[in-house]
Every structure is written in structure tokens, then in C-alpha cells.
Homo-oligomer: 457 residues x 2
């Protein structure tokens, strides 16, 4: 598709391009234009040219689907009149999303292009805190009066429906207070003279403007809503959050958790759009913290120099013991972190969870200890003087390490949550570092006991 | 809430419970009943009793929101007539979801309770492969003929709308082939005599019945659809996937990725509902594989016994070098795995990605090497005879390890994808094990070269 359009562009066959665009979904056109932005061989003036070939009624939709770099490039190429047309056609929450990514001079141009009413609403949404329900809502919803008949309501929807973001769910307000909710289908299937207040549902679930957006998104998963009303402290309706914004929040939240769990500072830009210095910066902080804390393993190991001087073979099992501990701890902490994120595990389950992990670790560690003990005994039977003691040391160390790392791995995320920290930081990297210290300490102590017993240490 | 209802239940005040239920959202009632199922002090017959207090028109909805254990318990308590009423009221895709979790005898009872038409449709959906679009679709959608007028269409919707899962998006078919799509609002705002074919959008995006459900879910994120039509090979429409099912797929997929990335076999049950043996089983396989592969680190370490016999301090830096390598590799592989999952990174970007990670690793490793080199020089200045050589060895090893682990960490997920493996398996645990071998090998080699140079080795 890209190459076809590029060919047509070179031969100046704009009519053909226009027809191709007309047959495509807005999101696909946006992705295609994005490719033109990313391709360095395309002249920069050609993207605005392509954009102007779009039908007026889809241009704003296509614009909303593009990423912020491309949007900025286009805004800079637009005349004031073009920008005004786009801003007129954009849904309010998309306008706000765009504004949030732009530098101040571009924001000023966009706000100037909006009409007075839109400008007021943009400013209202922008003043909510970054991760609040208010910041992701739109003020473009359809409200009805409870005294309307179904017919009056339909007439009102016909009148205002086309410029609002969603009309599938309608809200009933009285003195700006939210009193009911109903679907477009409820109105369509009602008799003309039925009163709205008789067909509406009056138990309305709503969220406060300051509610955390991740909590709001989780309500969409739970209740399967298409949209969710946002109200202020006095239960006055101020906007709605739509399901597509909730889906974006869920995906962003998951991406953020994946980053944090790999000890990377979260970053809202995509992989390729982030420069190497920004990438390096977001990774280096945690690496430094983890490295410095590794000083503790260094001190522990130093203290047991006598043990591995007498039994040098002990050193070669250090990586295996440490990795097993790290992996076991990571398994537990990941499951608990995910459980907390999905609201399945709470701090009140603390002892239940730790006890469960303890029992699991007994099963897991027994199997690993037996398999490894046997393997080591067979491998070192003829190669060293004390194969049984070596196998026993490793097997006991595995049991101690696995149990300890699973218990620590399950406790720390819940404790983090309790201390109002993000449980995701208690993931693999930090758990590995903490567990390393413990497992080496256990390993060398067990080795010292076993080998002193046979007089080697 | 739980305690209130429990009190009322004990005092047999069923009327009050009924009123409480009437004021609650169906999902919340389901969560409450779930608590009664989970609470061991509640008698088992009390759950069916509570369920029977629900209004007939919400009972099926509440039932659909419960988890499969509770559903099974209720089905076993239901009379045939009660079961039939529930199955009648359930949306078809919910019925199929329930059936997929039940043992054969319960499935037989459910299918027997359904009317002939529903039974046929259930069987049709059940025959699609597990992760296909067909398996998550519903056949309850509203279709229109292109020759209908807006008024005829509205009458038809009033006639069938209430029993279909979604009517916000309507599909136009001709000889069962999908030819158009429009929204309920399009019809409401059209003139009575407008023809459907004139107001419908005729570029319809659809998916094949056999399309992977994760791909289908990603289309919802991309296009912000409320529902997506599913067609067979001949473009005949067979059903729709609704956004709530797509959201569930996205959440399940993320949970699965979190599990795989922590070396846990994915499990569809929640944490608490999985028994300890099943938990142990899903964790033990990868632990064993990773442990056995750690034999390689063992062999490498054995080979360099001479080095750490001469310079025992070398042993104490092993954990730090290994962990830094593991963490750096994990950062890169996590970002790439997530990029692949979000369809941002493809195999065609292989060299671009590896080169980017290479440049990032140079920045990261230089900073870490300098910080650690200085720290070690200061710490060991008066404690050992060759503080500079020690600091140099560690600094060089950090540089080599970080670069190598970032390059390996970025390559393996893309190679896995190319080999049709799930990139998520190339996450922290496996990367750590692979990187450990390489980093120890590099570390001991660098140490040998540096210390032979000053005649210690």
C-alpha cells in the first residue's frame, strides 16, 4: 500500500490517492501517513499534501489516530483556517490528548483555533491531575431531563447526537446532578409517550473526578460499561470516560508494569521514538542501585573465603544457587504483583498468601533438591573425594534457598502495596538482589556445617 | 455489605435482602454471592437460597458474572426449570464461556435446557479452535437488509433488539454475505424513508472465524470498535465479537505474558483458586530446565579455579557481574517482548533494534564501569595489593557484560518470534541463565589477562 501511494504521489495522480483513502478505515490511513512521516526519503512537504487529499469529514478522525510527532509536523504546516476546521471536528478528549503532548507554542495555536465554548471545556479538563478520571474524560455526552417523553428524547438526540462522542448511553440529570442512565435502545424500544424517568435505571455507578484512572479502567473490565459518568464532589455530572480511553489506560498500565518489573523507569513513548540517551537514562538508575546493593553479596562472599579456599568446587555452584533463588523469588513476586494489579490479592490476605507460598516452596524445593542431589552425586562420584557431602550441601542449600526466596518474593509486593509503593518495583531485579544475599549466606553456612562435620573445614 | 446480608440471612429477613440486591449492580451482586461461596462458615444451601431472591430479569446477568466453581455449585442446586430460565436469559457467548469450564455431565444438562435453535448455535461456536475468533464470538447480532428504510429498520430493531447482545452496531447482509455496517444513531438520525444502503458504510472491516483471538483483540485497540463482525471463508457473516470479550482477551494475554516472563506455565485460574500442587507443577518445569542449564556456568567456573585460587577476591565480584548482566539483558528483552506484543517491533527491524541496543549499552556500561571502578578502587585501596588492577578488571568486565547482555537480550525475543515461538519465553529467567555463562566467561578471561600482565597469574 505504501509503495502504491508513493508511486501515485510521484506521478502526481492525486485523484487515485484520494480514491484509495476513501476506501480505507481512518485508523489505517493514519498508519499509512505515519509511514510517510517515518520514511526519510519522502520530502517533508509531501505529508501535508497527502493529508489535504483526505475527505473533510474524515480528516479530523485520521488526525486523532496519528502519533504526536506527526501531528505536530502537520499542525506546523496547517494554515489557521485548516487547523480551526480540524479542531472543530475533533472529539474534545482527543483534542485534550493532543494538547498534552505538544510544546507551549503549538498548544497556544490549538487553543486559539477552538471556539469559546470548546476552549472553556479544554481548560476545565486540563486542570485535573495527571492520572485522574477528570484528565481522561470528555465533556461531550448527551444528557436528558427526567420529564422528557421517549419521543422528545429521540428528537433531542437527533438534534445533538452527531457532535457528541457517544450516544449509546444517555445520562439523565436534574439541576446538573446525575439521577439516571439508559441506553439508546431503551428509548428506541419505548413507546413515544413513555417518560424517561420511568424507563431509566436510577442506580447509576459513577466515579469522582479525582479517582485514579487505573481504578476507573478496572471498572470497565468489571462492569462491561461502554462509558462511565464522572461527577464532582456534589454529584454534579461533569463528563464521561469512554471505553476506548479505558482500554488505552489498561494497555499503558500493563506496559508500565512490564517496564517497572524489568527495572526500567516507565516511558510513554514507543521504543523506536525514544532516543538512545533517554533509553539509557531510564535504565541506568535501577542498575546503579542494584549494583551498589550487590556490595552486600561481596561482603558475604569475602567472609567465607576460607570455605571456598578449602573446597574450591563450592564456587562453581554459586551461580546455580543464586539463579534458582532469583527465579523462584521472581515467580512468586510476579504472581503476587499481578494478583494485586487485578485486585485479586489484598494486604488482608498476607498470611494466607505467605503460607500458601511456603507450602508450594516445600514441594518445589524437594523435587529440585532430589534431582540436583542425584545429578551432582553421579557427576562427581569419581572426580572428588566427598561426592555425597557435596550433593548433600547443594540439596540442602536448594531447599533453604527456594523456601526463603518464595516467602520473601510473596511478602515484599504486599508490603510495598501497604506502604503505598507500587508493588511492581518488588519484581525480579530487586528480588534477585535481595535473594542473592540470603541464598549465598545460607549456602556458605550450610557448606561450613557439612564440611566441618567431616573435618575438611 | 457481606456482614449485613449475612445478618439478614440469619434472621431470615429475605425481603430486606431482596431490596438490597435490587439496588445493586449485577456485577456487584455476583461478587457478593461469590464471597458467600468462598466463606466456609456459610452453609452450602444458603447460596442457592440467596440466588433465588434475585429478580428474574437480573438473575442470568448475575450468574454470568460469577466464576465457574460458583456457577457449577448453583447449576447442581437448580431444578431443570430454573436452569432453563437462566439459559434462556443468558447471552449466547456467556453460555458458551460457561460450558467451556464445566465437566461433561453439567454441559449435558445445560445443552438439554437450551431450546433447539440455541443448542445449534452453541454447538456451532464450540467447534471453532480454542484461540480463534469463532470461539469468542456470539451469534446474537442484529442484521438488516439493504433495501430496508430507516423506519423499517427501527421497527425490526424494536422487534428483535431486546434479545440480542448488542444493537449499537448493526450489520447489513445480502444472501448472508456482509455488505455494510451502520450505527443505531445513524438510523435514529436518518429520515424515515432513507434506504439503509444509502446510509450504511460499505467498507466493513471483519475477521475470519479462524483468526487468532489476540489479533482480534488488538484490532479493538486499534480501531476503537464496539463490535467486530466475524465471517467465514466465503465472507458470509457468522457472528460478532463484542468489546467486553476483547478486553478480557487483552487482560488474559497480559497475565499470560507476565507468567511466562517469570518462567511460570500460564494458568487460567486465579491465584487463590489454584491448588498448591498445580502451582508447584506450573513452576517446577522451567526451574529444572534453568537449573540443568546452569551446569554450563559450573563447568566454566571450574575451569578458572586457578584464577580465583590466586586472587580469591575475584569470587566476591561474581554475583555483582552476573546480576548486572542479568538485569541488563532483562531490560532489553522485556522492552523488545512488549514491543512485539504491541505490534511495534517486527523481525524486519532486527538490525535496527540490535544496533540501537548496542549504542544504549555503550552509554549504560560506561557509566556503570566508571562508578564501580572508582568505588572499588577506594574500597580496596588499603586492603589489597593491586587495587587499580582489581578496579580495572571489574570495570572492563562490566563493559563487556553489559554490551553482550543487551545485544543478546534484544536478539533472542525477535529470533523466537521468527521461529514461531512465543517471544515471552525469552524473558528474564532464560536470558539470565544465558547471560550468566557469557558474563562469567568474559569476567574470568579479562581477569586472567589483567592479572597475568602484572605476573600474579
Amino acid at each position: 500500500m505504501f509503495n502504491t501511494v508513493l508511486e501515485l504521489l510521484k506521478s502526481r495522480n492525486y485523484k487515485a490517492i484520494r480514491e484509495i483513502f476513501m476506501d480505507m478505515n481512518e485508523a489505517d490511513v493514519a498508519a499509512l501517513l505515519q509511514q510517510f512521516y517515518d520514511d526519510h526519503e519522502v520530502e517533508k512537504y509531501e505529508l501535508p499534501l497527502l493529508f489535504r487529499l483526505l475527505n473533510k469529514d474524515v480528516a479530523a478522525d485520521v488526525f486523532a489516530y496519528m502519533d504526536s510527532d506527526t501531528q505536530m509536523m502537520l499542525i506546523n504546516a496547517f494554515t489557521d483556517k485548516e487547523l480551526q476546521e480540524i479542531v472543530d471536528d475533533l472529539y474534545l478528549d482527543d483534542t485534550v490528548d493532543i494538547i498534552e503532548e505538544m510544546p507551549a507554542n503549538v498548544v497556544a495555536r490549538i487553543v486559539k483555533s477552538a471556539d469559546a465554548e470548546t476552549r472553556k471545556q479544554i481548560n476545565q479538563i486540563l486542570k485535573y491531575p495527571k492520572d485522574s478520571a477528570g484528565s481522561i474524560m470528555t465533556t461531550e455526552y448527551v444528557y436528558l431531563h427526567r420529564s422528557y417523553t421517549a419521543k422528545e428524547a429521540l428528537d433531542w438526540i437527533r438534534h445533538v447526537g452527531m457532535v457528541k462522542e457517544t450516544v449509546n448511553t444517555l445520562y439523565v440529570t436534574e439541576n446538573r446532578k446525575l439521577v439516571g442512565v439508559l441506553s439508546l435502545l431503551d428509548i428506541v424500544t419505548a413507546d413515544d409517550n413513555d417518560k424517561i424517568e420511568d424507563i431509566m435505571e436510577d442506580n447509576v455507578i459513577s466515579v469522582d473526578t479525582l479517582e485514579d484512572k487505573e481504578y476507573v479502567a478496572s471498572m470497565f473490565s468489571k462492569y462491561d460499561f461502554l462509558s462511565l459518568p464522572v461527577v464532582d464532589r456534589e454529584n454534579r455530572m461533569v463528563g464521561i470516560v469512554t471505553f476506548d480511553d479505558a482500554m488505552d489506560v489498561i494497555q499503558d498500565e500493563n506496559t508500565e508494569d512490564f517496564s517497572k518489573m524489568a527495572a526500567i523507569a516507565p516511558n510513554e513513548e514507543s521504543y523506536f521514538r525514544t532516543g538512545i540517551f533517554k533509553h539509557a537514562k531510564s535504565r541506568i538508575v535501577w542498575l546503579l542501585i542494584l549494583m551498589i546493593s550487590a556490595t552486600i553479596t561481596q561482603i558475604i562472599t569475602n567472609r567465607y573465603e576460607a570455605a571456598f579456599a578449602a573446597v574450591p568446587l563450592l564456587v562453581s555452584f554459586m551461580p546455580m544457587i543464586m539463579d534458582t533463588g532469583g527465579n523462584c523469588g521472581a515467580q512468586s513476586s510476579t504472581l503476587i504483583i499481578r494478583g494485586i494489579a487485578l485486585d485479586e490479592i489484598h494486604f488482608s490476605d498476607f498470611f494466607k498468601v505467605v503460607f500458601k507460598e511456603f507450602r508450594i516452596s516445600i514441594i518445589v524445593s524437594s523435587v529440585l533438591a532430589v534431582v540436583n542431589g542425584v545429578r551432582i552425586y553421579i557427576m562427581y562420584q569419581h572426580k572428588c573425594d566427598y561426592p555425597f557431602m557435596l550433593a548433600l550441601t547443594i540439596a540442602l542449600s536448594i531447599i533453604a534457598t527456594v523456601i526463603l526466596s518464595k516467602v520473601i518474593g510473596s511478602m515484599l509486593p504486599m508490603l510495598a502495596k501497604k506502604c503505598r509503593l507500587d508493588p511492581a518495583i518488588m519484581a525480579t531485579p530487586l528480588i534477585t538482589t535481595i535473594v542473592d544475599c540470603c541464598s549465598l549466606f545460607l549456602y556458605f553456612n550450610i557448606a561450613t556445617i557439612v564440611f566441618s562435620h567431616i573435618g575438611i573445614l
